[in-house]
Every structure is written in C-alpha cells, then in structure tokens.
C-alpha cells in the first residue's frame, strides 16, 4: 500500500514538473522575475519580526528626536535607520516590513472571504439554475453597481463613528477583511457560474446524477475541480485589487491605524510631510506597494495566458 502511495506522490511531483504550466513558467522571464520578487516580499513580510531591527508597534522603542531622518545613503541620515524615519522617529524599514505583512494578510484573507462567498454562490446559482439563479445574480448585479470603495467607505465611516476610534482601531484588520471580502464576491460568483454552466452540460455530470450522487457532492467533487483554472486567475488579480483597496482605505484614514501601519497608512502618514522635504516617508512604502501589486498582476497575466483554453490546447 505504501508502495502505491509512494508511486503516486512521485508521479504527482513529476507530473507538476513535466506539466505545461511549469514548462511555460520556465520559458517566461517575466513570470520568473515576478515570482522571485513576490517570494522575496512575501518571505520578508512573513518573517518581519525576525528581520526588522525594531518593533514599530512598540512606541517605547522610538525617540521623537529621531523623527524625519532621511535614508541612510543620503549622507544626512543615521546608519541605524536604513530607510530613514517617519514623523514619530519610527524606523521606516521595520515599519515597511510590518506594513507589507499587514497588507498581504488583509489582501489574502479578503480574497479568501471573496472566494468562499463567490464560489459557493456561483456553484449554487449555476448548478441549480432557475429562480435561485435569478435572485442570486440580481443580488450580484446590485452589488456590482456600487463601487467597492464607496461601500467600504460608507461602512467603515459609519462603524468608526458608531464604535468610536479606539474600538475601531482594535478591530480594523477584521473590518477591512470583511468589507473588502464582501464587496467583491460577485466577481467570483459570475466567473464560477459561467464555468459551471459550461461544465454541467458535460456528460460526466449526467453520469454522476444517474449514479445518484447528491447535488452538493456533484458540485464540490465533480464540477468545482473542473472549474479551478479561472478561479486561480481571478484570485491573483483579486489579491492585488484587495491590497490596493486596503491601501486606499488606509490612505483615507478608514483603514489600519497609524500605530499599526499597513503600506497604505504609511503612505498616508508621510503625505503630510512630502512638501517639507521628507519625501521618503511616502515614496518608499509607495514603491513597495507598486512593485508588490505589479508582480502579482504580472503573475496573474501569465497564469491567464497559460490556463486560457483558447490560447493553449492541453
């Protein structure tokens, strides 16, 4: 038995290595560079507490006298602070590491929420059809007619006023994940529904029905695994979108508080000083954000090209 599972895992690994996706990845320098940069950022973010010289969440560790020091390479800076310090004397390098972590967590968790809602609703709506499909898709249309940012701004502003700033700041991360997650599910639901409509006409679904499997089983075990490629593609794009949404909301002061900055709130906190010469507080987190979103989008583009059945016959 163990022989067999050994053989299977072996063939799974070799199947991944021999697959068309790996082949196309190896031949695409843009995808390789994007992947390397993304992995670097993700690694740095994941191990931020080990890499960062100070803990930016602890106000006792920074000194107001160190405030607005320029980056170390400019000459006027201090070697202790690689990227300089912000208006409170906080080390920008540590703040960026922690902020990237916060941004990535919010981006990925929000997409998980979106994916969960969108995939379940899309599967149900596509497979069952009829009135349920109509109702759910009209909900999606209504949701899509409001812009994500508008919904998020209204919701966050109202809850900030309702619970007070302190409580809001404590739960800001969950609020952001929830709001961005709920506001964007129709993207998933529509894509999944479209693939389900195409898949459910195939004979293997009929065959599963004749064998007496329950609709839930058919949806999850049979249709979902065959609709994964478009889900992968929109997931990458949506992670980038969610990070941007989070940054915009934080920039507007409705997201992460300055005491626990994300990339967006770092950019926002430096924005007040940009004309007084302290360009680094806004620019450096801004560059990190742009690079992060860019590589995720480039990876998404590459994945779409590979998984698009019209460009690629497998």
């Amino acid at each position: 038995m163990s022989m067999m599972s050994d053989h299977q895992s072996n063939s799974l690994f070799s199947r991944i290595m021999d697959s068309n996706i790996t082949y196309s990845f190896k031949r695409n320098p843009v995808a390789i560079i994007s992947m390397v940069i993304f992995l670097l950022i993700a690694f740095a973010a994941a191990f931020a507490p080990l890499i960062a010289p100070t803990d930016p969440y602890d106000p006792s560790l920074y000194d107001i006298l160190d405030s607005e020091l320029p980056p170390a390479w400019t000459g006027q800076g201090d070697e202790k602070f690689l990227f300089g310090t912000d208006d409170q004397g906080r080390d920008l390098w540590s703040a960026i590491l922690y902020g990237t972590r916060t941004s990535l967590i919010i981006g990925i968790c929000a997409v998980l929420v979106q994916a969960f809602l969108g995939i379940s609703i899309g599967l149900i709506s596509g497979y069952l059809g009829g009135r349920i499909d109509n109702i759910l898709m009209r909900f999606a249309d209504i949701q899509l007619s409001f812009s994500t940012l508008m919904v998020a701004i209204i919701f966050l502003a109202v809850s900030q006023a309702l619970f007070g700033s302190d409580t809001f700041n404590k739960y800001a991360l969950f609020m952001l994940v929830g709001v961005i997650g709920i506001a964007e599910w129709p993207q998933y639901a529509r894509t999944v529904r479209a693939t389900v409509l195409a898949e459910k006409k195939k004979e293997y679904v009929d065959s599963a029905r004749v064998l007496g499997f329950s609709p839930v089983r058919i949806m999850i075990r049979h249709i979902l695994p065959n609709s994964l490629s478009p889900i992968f593609v929109i997931s990458t794009v949506q992670v980038a979108n969610a990070i941007v949404s989070e940054a915009s909301l934080s920039f507007l002061g409705l997201g992460m508080p300055v005491s626990q900055p994300s990339l967006g709130s770092l950019i926002s906190s430096g924005f007040d000083y940009i004309f007084s010469g302290s360009w680094w507080i806004t620019t450096i987190p801004g560059i990190v954000l742009v690079v992060l979103v860019l590589v995720i989008n480039l990876l998404g583009d590459w994945m779409r090209d590979v998984l698009n059945p019209k460009l690629y016959k497998g």
């Binding site: 299977q8 063939s11 293997y204 065959s207 599963a208 004749v210 064998l211 007496g212 049979h222 695994p225």
Partner: protein
C-alpha cells in the same frame, strides 16, 4: 420458469411526452406579427406519446435519424429530465415523479452509459476514484478492502487491467474509456442499463469490442438494455426488439427478426433500404423527399406524411394510432391499416 422471466415487464413507458420550452419568461413570449404584438409560447416537441414495454432480459433498440428524440427517451427513462406528460413505470412502480432520496434504490438497479467516452468520465479523477465513488456511495457498509475488491473485479470484467487504476482518463484511448464508463455503470450491479449511442463516438474497429463486452455483460449479469442507436447493423446484432422513432413518435415496434424480414411502416422500409449492402451493385434505395419537419410546429396528422409516398388526405388530417399486426409488430400508419401498402 424462463418463460415467466422473459414475460416480466421491467420498464413501461405510457404515452410519454416531453417538450422543451423555447421561450422562457413572459417577455420572451411576446412576438411582433402582422403589425400586432401577440403572446406566443413555442416549444420543441421532442417526444410525443411514446408507449413502449421492455421485458426482463430483452435488449430494446431505439433507432431513428438525428433529432428524432432517441436521446430524450433515454434521458427521460434515466430520470435526468422529467416528462411533460405520461408515466414511466419500473418494475410496477411509477418512477417519473420520484425525487432525491426516493430515487436512490432505483439508481442501483438502473444505470446509464453515455455516448461520448471523452466527456463521460471526470477528467480530474483517477479511474480508481471514479470507480470507487459509486461503490462507496451505494454501499456505505463496505470496508476498504471490499471496495477495492469490487473495483478490481469490475475492472477485470470489462478487460481493463486493475493496475491502471491510478491513471487519469486522458491516458486512455476512446475504447478503453468507454469500457471504463461501462465498468462504472456496472459497479452498482444494475439490472437495467440505458445505453445512449455508446459506440457511435468510437472507431469502427473498437465498436465491435465494446458491443461484445456489452453482450457478455448481458449474458453474465442478466442485464436488460435500452439501447439507443442509429446504426441498423448494430440493431440486428444486438437487439431483441426494435422501436423506430420518427419526429418523437414511434412508427413501428417489433421483434428484430420480424422488423428486418418484414418491415411495414414506409419509414422503416426507407431506413432499411438505406443500409449499404455488399451484395448489391445497383441498390434500390427508397429515396425520401424533403427534410424532417421541425419539431416546433408538429404537422397535424401523421408526422411522416410530408415525406411519405403513400400519404393521402386522411394522413394529413388524422394522427395514426399504433395497431398490432398479425405477426406481433405494432405499426402506426394509416396506409398499413387500410392495406394500401402491399
């Protein structure tokens, strides 16, 4: 005893009709005609008043040209779609109104084999998973070993090596896949199998293999078949009885031997004359004029009248009823009834 067995009616279709609506919702039904807006609901009448009986141990072949409703009959019997009118009885029990859990015992007794073996197996499941799933689902009490044994047995019985179980469907040829699809249907030990053109997507050299496999399964397991096909030579080889379908209605329903030696309905004659024969240099085909009419607006009277060389005013006014002939075949034709055909 054997006589008793063969007389037992396993499946009975009673005036079965199925129509598919073309216009969904109120807005679709509005049409602009002759300067006025009228509300009109169109539907495709795929199957009309089909009554058939299948005895235990038989292989009933349903033949007809494309679009005549053969596959719809198969899907109706399998419960994939529900009939608009009429009833389906299986072993004395009415099954067309059953839903969900009530259908489960029936699923074990009745299985279906599909036309396209490239689409009827889930591409993301290994053969092992695909075959295990129905066994587990219908026999929750089975242990791991029982399930393995069952799967291996079924694979051997269709001539697929059990050591290939870890492979995915795309690693097999069309014929192998169709045998695996048959194996999947046999995992639940059904007594009745619906086969919807199971060999028409296969290479000619593989067709005989799969057909013989199905015949073997019939002998060994005492299966009853509802076999949908458009290939008359397959019918001759496989079927015990034949139903000829035209535009969703049964024209002629007879024992295979009777039908081939003495076809009565003009459409059946035309079909049989179209089978290519090696012995005949200058074949004497009956050439049908025109096209099969659209199933949206069914002609009044006999569905075949527009192409029939024996049609007369009665045929275009009155729907022929199925009448049993002296040799046991059932024919729905005014000309046969009146003796206008020799």
């Amino acid at each position: 005893m054997k006589q008793d067995m063969s007389n037992h009616v396993l499946l009975e279709l009673e005036n079965l009709s199925k129509s598919f609506d073309l216009d969904h919702g109120f807005l679709d039904t509005l049409k602009f005609k002759k300067g006025r807006i009228v509300s009109e609901k169109r539907s495709v009448h795929a199957v009309n008043n089909v009554s058939l009986k299948i005895h235990k141990g038989e292989a009933l072949c349903v033949v007809g040209e494309s679009g005549c409703g053969k596959s719809t009959v198969a899907r109706l019997v399998a419960g994939l779609i529900s009939p608009t009118k009429g009833a389906i009885h299986y072993d004395g029990q009415r099954i067309d109104a059953l839903k969900g859990k009530d259908l489960l015992p029936l699923r074990k007794r009745m299985q279906m084999i599909f036309q396209n073996p490239y689409a009827s197996l889930n591409p993301r499941m290994t053969i092992q998973q695909a075959l295990e799933e129905p066994v587990r689902h219908h026999n929750p009490s089975f242990s791991r070993d029982d399930v393995q044994d069952k799967v291996a047995n079924v694979m051997r019985s269709v001539g697929v090596d059990p050591s290939w179980a870890a492979r995915y469907p795309h690693e097999f040829s069309g014929g192998q896949r169709q045998r695996i699809a048959i194996a999947r249907a046999l995992t639940v030990d059904p007594e009745f199998v619906i086969a919807d053109e199971p060999i028409s997507a296969l290479d000619v050299s593989i067709q005989a293999q799969v057909l013989n496999l199905m015949l073997e399964a019939k002998e060994e397991r005492g299966l009853t078949y509802l076999f949908i096909t458009h290939d008359l030579s397959v019918v001759q080889h496989f079927g015990t009885r034949v139903a000829v379908l035209y535009l969703g209605s049964v024209c002629e329903y007879a024992d295979t031997a009777t039908l081939f030696s003495n076809p009565k309905h003009p459409y059946t004659r035309a079909l049989l004359s179209a089978v290519p024969q090696l012995s005949d240099d200058k074949p004497n085909h009956i050439r049908l004029k025109g096209e099969i009419p659209t199933p949206i607006n069914l002609p009044k009277g006999c569905p075949f009248q527009s192409r029939c060389s024996y049609s007369n005013p009665r045929c275009s006014a009155e729907l022929p009823v199925a009448i049993e002939q002296a040799d046991g075949s059932v024919v729905a034709c005014h000309a046969v009834e009146e003796g206008r055909i020799d």
